[in-house]
């Protein structure tokens, strides 16, 4: 069973160096990473997640619009029967926003400075717990 992850950048943020670092770390961990580039709508992200049958959607956002966009991705996934897909987020996200995001269905938030290995391990553990792999 191969773990498939969609790394996506929602909204108007044009900085994807972080997303590329994460994508490369996941590739090195043996994951198949689908990267769709900059400026995606939540609808696009959900459609791609379904079409590619990913296990995880990893959202990266540095613009500050996470409280708005992350929950919308979760909602769009639900609308398309994709509520079993694990959604995680990362970027420049204030600690005080994290409880709200988790309440909205984002499983975990990784802020700047997180070692990439922590993200990889988190995904492996979370998918094992869910019985996916």
């Amino acid at each position: 069973m191969k773990i498939r992850v969609l790394v996506a950048k929602p909204g108007l943020d044009g900085h994807d160096r972080g997303a590329k670092v994460i994508a490369s770390a996941m590739r090195d961990a043996g994951f198949e990473v689908i990267y769709t580039g900059l400026r995606q709508t939540p609808e696009q992200i959900a459609a791609v997640a379904i079409a590619e049958d990913v296990n995880v959607v990893a959202l990266s956002l540095l613009s500050g619009a996470h409280n708005n966009l992350f929950p919308r991705v979760v909602q769009c996934l639900k609308d398309k029967e994709g509520d079993d897909i694990l959604v995680i987020g990362g970027g420049v996200i204030p600690k005080s926003d994290i409880p709200f995001l988790k309440e909205q269905g984002i499983a975990e938030i990784f802020t700047t400075g997180t070692p990439t290995s922590a993200i990889v391990d988190y995904i492996k553990n979370a998918l094992t717990e869910r019985g996916v792999c």
């Binding site: 191969k2 490369s24 590739r27 079409a51 590619e52």
Partner: protein, 322 residues
């Protein structure tokens, strides 16, 4: 056995849902095709009656030649004509970690929300011969979703890619200026599999020279049966130039093939090869399950290595048992 029946029910259910246009079912089936060798034959069996109506276009060429952008533009043109389009985009898996970054969709973002477009990204995963089987079955799944055209995009290096292109009705080889001199071009392999040669990034210097070189090159070599001059087309996919001409060339090739019966002959030959591969893999799977050759080998491999058992005698004895 019961597990197998449960899985068959599950597959049947997915195929029914797929036929009603359920996206989740389509993508689940493709994942099964990719991950679980044992289910391939069941999936293939259920969907086969619904297949055979799509026209398959292979798109190959070196990395960075613009295959994804070209695929995107061709798909959009086909959509304008009201066609339903499937796209299988293959990118390389790492031979070290087994992971992959599948980035072809970056060029196809506008298609993501089109209900008449099916896209799937695939890693090569390094399995022996398995890639072409996975791609082939994915193409069949899109075929069963009533796609008019299916575009299969892969980096054109190596045997498995050539195998994939054998399933295409029309194969495009995409090249760009600066690729190399004419000796690079006449090296065996990539150009031979193309029905249409595309010089992409034609806005760059050297595109015309490359096109004339490709035309000239076709005069080298022995004339073969079925040999014909392959059209050479200039495109600039990023600027959306030359795409209509390219589609016209594809349609002309299609017509030419269908008139000459070569289309059906090619598909029949391909079907035969495909069935043989599946038969071989199923037979060997059953034999291994029954005789446990692999476990036996585990037990004696060190003795073989130390030259106390001759491995070729052992192979012979296994064959005799069967």
């Amino acid at each position: 056995m019961s597990v197998k029946y449960v899985q068959q029910d599950q597959i049947y259910d997915l195929v029914v849902r797929m036929r009603t246009g359920n996206r989740r079912a389509v993508s689940r089936l493709i994942t099964m095709v990719e991950n679980e060798n044992t289910l391939r034959i069941d999936i293939a069996r259920y969907i086969y009656p619904y297949t055979g109506n799509s026209y398959i276009i292979g798109i190959t060429g070196p990395p960075g030649s613009g295959k994804s952008t070209l695929t995107d533009k061709l798909a959009k043109l086909l959509r304008k004509q009201g066609k339903r389009v499937g796209i299988v985009a293959v990118d390389p898996s790492s031979p070290f970690s087994g992971g992959a970054i599948l980035g072809d969709r970056i060029r196809m973002n506008d298609l993501a929300l089109d209900d008449e477009v099916f896209i799937r990204s695939m890693g090569t995963r390094g399995h022996l011969g398995g890639l072409s089987e996975s791609v082939e079955l994915t193409v069949k799944i899109f075929d069963a979703c009533n796609c008019d055209y299916i575009l299969v995009e892969t980096v054109g290096v190596g045997q498995s890619e050539v195998d994939i292109m054998k399933m295409a009705d029309t194969t495009l080889v995409v090249l760009v200026p600066g690729y190399g001199d004419d000796i690079q071009m006449i090296k065996a392999g990539i150009l031979e599999i193309g029905d249409i040669l595309v010089v992409n990034k034609a806005d760059r210097d050297g595109a015309d020279q490359l096109a004339s070189m490709l035309n000239m090159m076709q005069q080298y070599g022995e004339s073969r049966e079925n040999s014909r001059v392959r059209p050479v087309l200039l495109t600039s996919a990023y600027e959306n130039k030359g795409i209509e001409e390219l589609l016209n060339a594809i349609l002309a090739h299609r017509e030419q093939r269908q008139v000459s019966d070569y289309y059906h002959l090619n598909r029949m030959n391909h079907l035969r090869a495909e069935i043989m591969v599946m038969l071989q893999s199923e037979l060997s799977k059953r034999l291994f399950e029954r005789y446990h050759f692999d476990q036996e080998l585990d037990g004696i491999i060190s003795e073989m290595y130390e030259r106390r058992i001759n491995p070729y005698d052992w192979v012979e004895s296994c064959v005799n048992i069967v």
